[in-house]
Symmetry: C2
Subunit: 125 residues, 2 copies
DNA sequence: CATCTGCTTCGACATACATCTATGTTGACA
DNA sequence: TGTCAACATAGATGTATGTCGAAGCAGATG
């Protein structure tokens, strides 16, 4: 039931290596579509940067100008795209990001010809 | 005229580090929106993996089931998002990817907690 | 100039999407 | 059981988007 990330098959090959097939492109477009909204991007980074790596919906509605059902809708989009997971714990529902999904998209976008940042690795302060 | 990539400012900070601001989220959403279509994803990977790193429109219309004006429209979307550049050379118009833009998005999506692929680095096969 | 080819722009149309309010559901608690 | 709080779902609505055919524009060529 929990959508455990479907392992790495056609995963993680940079798109600059070889042209994407129709099926892969369709699936990836669905994931990028989930990222193609300012509210969802902020939701995702809010969840990802939350202490413990997860946040309840009550933590996520405050920072936005949109209604609570709208936040709920955006979280559903992110969940159905496989970018976040969720679980009810008592009164609250918690969300967390799925690293494998985001890192897959990250790898796909890597292009040679320019140096990328060292970035995280550590995970530090 | 050529949109030289606007250097790295708020660039390249993974979204898991700290919550995205509204302005950054809006700009990034525009770029992800350009990626949120199967045809555009395939166009991008087709261009990126073309010999010499660039392709003319005549190379790009064949592999798709959509009309040539539609391809032209999608190329315009990619160009206005800053993901590709283009230039007319005699009869043909050539397109190439802008590595800095794609790598910026790639860095943004990197999340700790799971190993990413070694990927390119060298420049390949 | 006339014409052909490669590509872009325009106008129209159907579908998808973001957002709202109203309502439903689920768990805690008196 | 009744009630309250936290989220989710449903239905409605305006806007954005993907697609097409037709027309425009720009080089090349005769």
């Amino acid at each position: 039931m929990l959508p455990v990330f479907p392992a790495a098959e056609a995963c993680c090959t940079p798109m600059a290596r070889e042209p994407l097939g129709e099926a892969d492109a369709a699936e990836l477009a669905r994931m990028f579509k989930a990222l193609a909204d300012p509210v969802r991007l902020r939701l995702l980074s809010l969840i990802a940067s939350y202490e413990g790596g997860e946040a309840c919906v009550c933590d996520l509605t405050g920072p936005f100008d949109v209604s609570q059902p709208t936040i709920s809708h955006h979280l559903k989009v992110l969940r159905e795209a496989g970018l976040v997971g969720s679980e009810r714990r008592g009164t609250w529902v918690y969300y967390w990001v799925i690293p494998a999904a985001l890192n897959r998209l990250s790898s796909l976008l890597q292009v040679p010809g320019q140096i990328s940042v060292p970035a995280l690795a550590g995970g530090g302060a």
